[in-house]
Amino acid sequence: MGDFLHSFFDIHQILHVLPTLLGEGLRNTLIIASLSLLLGLTAGLLLSMLLIATRWWLRAPARIYVDIFRGLPAIVTVSIIGIGLPSADIRPFGESPMGYAILAIGLINAAYIAEIFRSGIQSVPVGQMEAGRSLGMSHLTTLMLIVVPQGIRNVLPALANQFIIAVKESSLVYLLGLAVGERELYFIAQQAQAVSYNSSSFVAAGLVYIAFTVPLTHLVNRFDRRMREGKRPTVADEPVGKEPLTPVGAGMEAGA
């Protein structure tokens, strides 16, 4: 039992590695997660528009992209982009692996986010598009001003969830070998373990992940619940008895 505690919960080891984890590690993890999410949101929104296009030649490339990046294990994508590109002398981000890591995780995010947006947009009743079109607005204008804002609102919880996934996937960057200063949580823990042969640094990194992701998950769930409960009444359960606020037909005389 003493061995077990020592291997995983060595307080000295944890305290030793924690400052680096919280300073350098958490910062870089959040940078990778946020920037890759930003890339994922932008590309994902574009892809979702293509996914719902009526023309097959717009739909097909987006579908293929989403299938590939959702189908590949994240570690393969990170390797292909982070190791493959520089070794093929394609170095848009120079020598630092950060850029490649953000690109790789961003591209994966884009595939998942595209599907999230697509389902959100398709959950908006078709009458919304019809109302916009009947007023003379173009398909694109109605999509951007009427349909997409409602669709995004429907999928905010799913998007927040995707951010949590991005936080965890950012650990795959360790594959690419980060320099001091750009290390994220997992890489710091792994290096500390390699020196000490003690797994407590992994536990410490895990605690930092959990301290961030668990509250975020609950925040998202609470937000999701509030959205559901506070959902505006639909046609079926509209508030009856509000009408007398303005007498029926009021303004008819004034309006005539």
Binding site: A131, S134, G136, P233, V235, E238, V248, G249, A250, M252
Partner: protein, 263 residues
């Protein structure tokens, strides 16, 4: 058709005996959804200022016919003219055509994420290219006309169905359309909210001289407000005529049996 319309007592903007250019002309309209033929060759004319009610059982094709007029459901074949312009021709600027034809839906279809005011201003700004101030002034004026100016900043979700439908009517009217289409505008409303909406529509037909095509189950509205009634059955116009005459003295067994069920 012109002849029958003259029988009606209601005054309307017409140029004496001169033939008036129709507001809407439907020529042999057919519409199929897959293998189902919903419209089987419908021809009809609506003159400016006229209110025409489309009645018939559900599935008879009346809503589909209405949705053909602004090409929300483009017909499979046939020709539609709106104020002389063939809108079923290729390369027609559909957005321009639709911006002159207002449509009111059974389920209102207000934009739930926008206030009543913004529901009205969005198309004024995007389609009519108005400034914010100009659009808001016109929107408020329209809300005033439907008696809802005080609720301009409310979201649709906090309005009753009747109020929502009146906002939807104001949204269409703000575009200053030549023609208004109503697709069962009161069918989704609780009975006590129907009157407020019908009053707005009645006022529009009688005082404003709007050209209106109204799909409705409200036979009293059809009788009192409309100039002509078209009875649709199985994708064709089975009978048509001046409202009072048609509803009081149906000629076809099909209309007789329909009226006996709804009246």
């Amino acid at each position: 058709m012109e002849q029958t319309a003259i029988d009606d007592a209601k005054p309307r903007q017409r140029g004496g005996d001169r033939p008036v250019e129709p507001a809407v002309e439907l020529l042999d309209i057919c519409k199929s959804f897959g293998k189902v033929d919903v419209l089987k060759g419908v021809s009809a004319t609506v003159v400016p200022g006229e209110t025409v009610c489309l009645i018939g059982a559900s599935g008879s094709g009346k809503s589909t016919l209405l949705r053909c007029i602004n090409l929300l459901s483009p017909p499979t074949s046939g020709t539609i003219r709106v104020h002389g312009q063939v809108i079923t021709a290729p390369k027609v600027d559909l957005n321009a055509v639709r911006s002159r034809i207002g449509m009111v839906f059974q389920h209102f279809n207000l934009f739930p994420h926008k206030s009543a005011l913004d529901n009205i201003t969005v198309a004024l700004r995007r389609v009519r290219r108005m400034s914010r101030q100009e659009a808001e002034e016109r929107a408020l004026a329209q809300l005033e006309k439907v008696g809802l100016r005080s609720l301009a900043s409310s979201r649709p979700g906090s309005l009753s169905g009747g109020q929502q439908q009146r906002v939807a009517i104001a949204r269409s009217l703000a575009m200053e359309p030549d023609i208004m289409l109503f697709d069962e505008a009161t069918s989704a409303l609780d009975p006590e909210l129907v009157k407020g909406v019908l009053d707005v529509m009645r006022d529009l037909a009688t005082s404003s001289g709007m050209t209106m095509v109204v799909v409705t189950h409200e036979m009293n509205f059809a009788r009192e407000v409309s100039d002509r009634v078209l009875f649709m059955d199985s994708g064709v116009i089975a009978e048509e005529g001046p409202a009072r005459q048609l509803l009081a003295d149906p000629q076809t067994p099909r209309l007789r049996s329909f009226l006996s069920q709804v009246l």
